[in-house]
């Protein structure tokens, strides 16, 4: 399926839009909102790298400035001091590799499932008919083939998020910025969506940077987990998650490795004043 997408004629390739994506790095990045005495420091001295094809999750307390990272990664917020590197080069404009997805699905009520999914393509300047043809092929992958003409208000929360995910996927951007995308879903639907996302990711290994405040979600999904402190957010630890893929919640979450990692991250988040354990739990 992924191959099919890339070879479809008449579409602008990733290369044409700013070269192939290799990596995204945050280098000693800090960011504050406001000026002078009123300035609120959101993130402080953040450094980590996301390589092409990786699934990196960022976990931290609610409101710790995680979303700020995304606006820096996409180039919507200027990064000073410190910098964002894309393929090793400082990012000075809008990042041509990223596509967002949010906790609130932000679907357009007047558009059908199909036409909501084409929005990203239309934003990129693709003609609507072309965008439709492109997106129609992915409907089945997202389990929405029977709902092409439905309106968002006719769908359940889980389905709405699948449409939002499809819309983000359909941009064909190589780096997906998923900002607590399943945060508003009930536990069971969230679990299903996580597994669904993992299956999608197994198909095409798009690079994913995934923000969450749910430790289980972070460990279940990520190749690596970046643990952030409370505001101003700093990187407390970068954790390699070497659990075998494909992962399924029930098997994975009962393994001793998982339990140990979970305990470790929870400890980090709960007890930030304690000295940070440097050795990653494998």
């Amino acid at each position: 399926m992924a191959g099919l997408r890339l070879t479809r004629p008449g579409r602008r390739s990733a290369a044409a839009r700013g070269g192939e994506f290799q990596s995204l790095s945050f280098e000693q990045l800090s960011h504050a909102y406001g000026h002078g005495g009123d300035a609120v420091e959101a993130v402080r001295d953040i450094s980590f790298t996301v390589n092409a094809g990786e699934f990196v999750t960022v976990v931290g307390p609610s409101g710790c400035g995680k979303s700020t990272l995304f606006n820096l990664a996409s180039g919507l917020s200027p990064s000073t001091p410190g910098q964002v590197l894309v393929n090793g080069e400082p990012l000075t404009t809008i990042n041509p590799h990223t596509a967002y997805m949010f906790q609130h699905d932000a679907l357009l009520d007047w558009r059908s499932v199909l036409d909501n999914a084409t929005l990203g393509q239309e934003f990129l300047g693709v003609k609507k008919s072309e965008a439709r043809a492109h997106v129609r092929q992915t409907l089945a992958e997202f389990g929405l083939e029977d709902f092409e003409d439905r309106k968002p208000y006719e769908l359940s929360g889980g389905m709405r998020q699948r449409v939002a995910l499809m819309r983000t996927y359909a941009t064909d951007r190589p780096l997906l910025l998923l900002d607590e995308p399943f945060g508003a879903l009930d536990a069971l639907t969230r679990l299903r969506m996580q597994e669904f996302l993992l299956r999608r990711w197994d198909d095409d290994h798009r690079t994913v940077l995934f923000i969450t405040h749910d430790v289980d979600e972070a460990l279940m999904l990520g190749d690596r987990v970046i643990v952030l402190s409370k505001r101003p957010a700093t990187v407390m630890e970068e954790l390699q998650v070497d659990l075998p893929r494909p992962r399924e919640a029930e098997e994975v979450q009962s393994t001793p490795e998982y339990v140990a990692m979970r305990k470790h991250v929870m400890h980090l988040l709960n007890d930030q004043s304690a000295p940070v354990a440097q050795e990653a739990v494998r």
Partner: protein, 280 residues
């Protein structure tokens, strides 16, 4: 914090399960909402007829519905001549008022500097005492339809502008960020997102405007006019021809209702998601 794994089946649940399918919505519509208003009107007309025809109230002061009906039929040429003028004023005033309101709303909503400069003026324009200004408008623009059109525009402009501003700025920040990160032009976002998002709000404003428009035209005609239902009312009143006054009132009401009905009809046609969606 721990997402409960639930039953063993959850790990392999297919993407779409029965529980996730949308349930059929839209409850059956009863006919009561259609019938009851007519019943209410008939009851009121009945009481009115009894009061007037039974001479409980002086029929010279309060003509019976039958008398008003007779007047509407017998004097239809007179009513039509005047209604035509009023309709023309409403039509031109509405078109100009809606166009100006939308234009102004777009400028205020999209340009921060314009908003800062003009928003106070906008609110002030609505606080203008129209009745006091109407004679001056006649002085400036004469006894023709021009001053009436200005009044209709002035009345309609505000709700339309406010609705436009609200609608254009109702777009969720997520969609805007999604668009910006993909390099979407402001023009694309405007047409594909902002304008459709604005429509339900705009219709809200148009409904208010439509119910005001006829009244605004009549107010304009009250302050001096040769033709129009307002002028007819005023003349008939001074002639003690009360059935014609009431006949004119009925026509103005009918025009107002018709405008409101047309607006509602257009709303249902053009923003079906709004009614069905409900929650937003």
């Amino acid at each position: 914090m721990i997402a409960d794994a639930g039953s063993p089946a959850t790990a392999t649940v297919p993407a779409t399960t029965a529980a996730e399918r949308p349930s059929p919505r839209r409850p059956r519509r009863s006919i009561a909402p259609v019938v009851l208003p007519f019943v209410a009107v008939l009851v009121i007309l009945g009481i009115w007829e009894i009061l007037s025809a039974g001479k409980i109230v002086n029929p010279l002061v309060l003509p019976s519905p039958t008398d008003v009906g007779k007047s509407l039929v017998n004097d239809r040429a007179l009513y039509w001549t005047n209604a035509r003028t009023t309709l023309l004023e409403i039509f031109i005033g509405s078109v100009v008022g809606v166009a100006l309101g939308v234009l102004f709303g777009v400028m205020v909503a999209l340009q921060r500097s314009v908003r800062a400069a003009l928003y106070p003026l906008l609110v002030a324009s609505q606080s203008l005492p129209v009745l006091a200004l109407a004679p001056i408008l006649v002085l400036w623009l004469g006894f023709g339809i021009a001053p009436k059109i200005v009044i209709v525009v002035q009345i309609i402009f505000f709700p339309v502008t406010v609705a436009t501003i609200q609608g254009l700025t109702s777009v969720s920040n997520e969609v805007l960020v999604f668009g910006k990160s993909l390099g979407a032009s402001a023009w694309t976002v405007f047409w594909k997102v902002r304008v459709p998002a604005m429509l339900p709000y705009l219709f809200g404003g148009l409904k208010i405007a439509s119910s005001y428009a006829a009244v605004a035209a009549v107010i304009g005609e009250y302050t001096g006019a040769e033709h129009g239902l307002g002028a007819l009312m005023l003349r008939a009143n001074s002639d003690y021809n009360i059935p014609v006054v009431f006949g004119s009132v009925v026509l103005v009401t009918v025009i107002g209702l018709a405008l409101f009905g047309l607006t509602t009809l257009a709303e249902r046609k053009l923003t079906p998601w709004h009614r069905a969606g409900g929650e937003r």
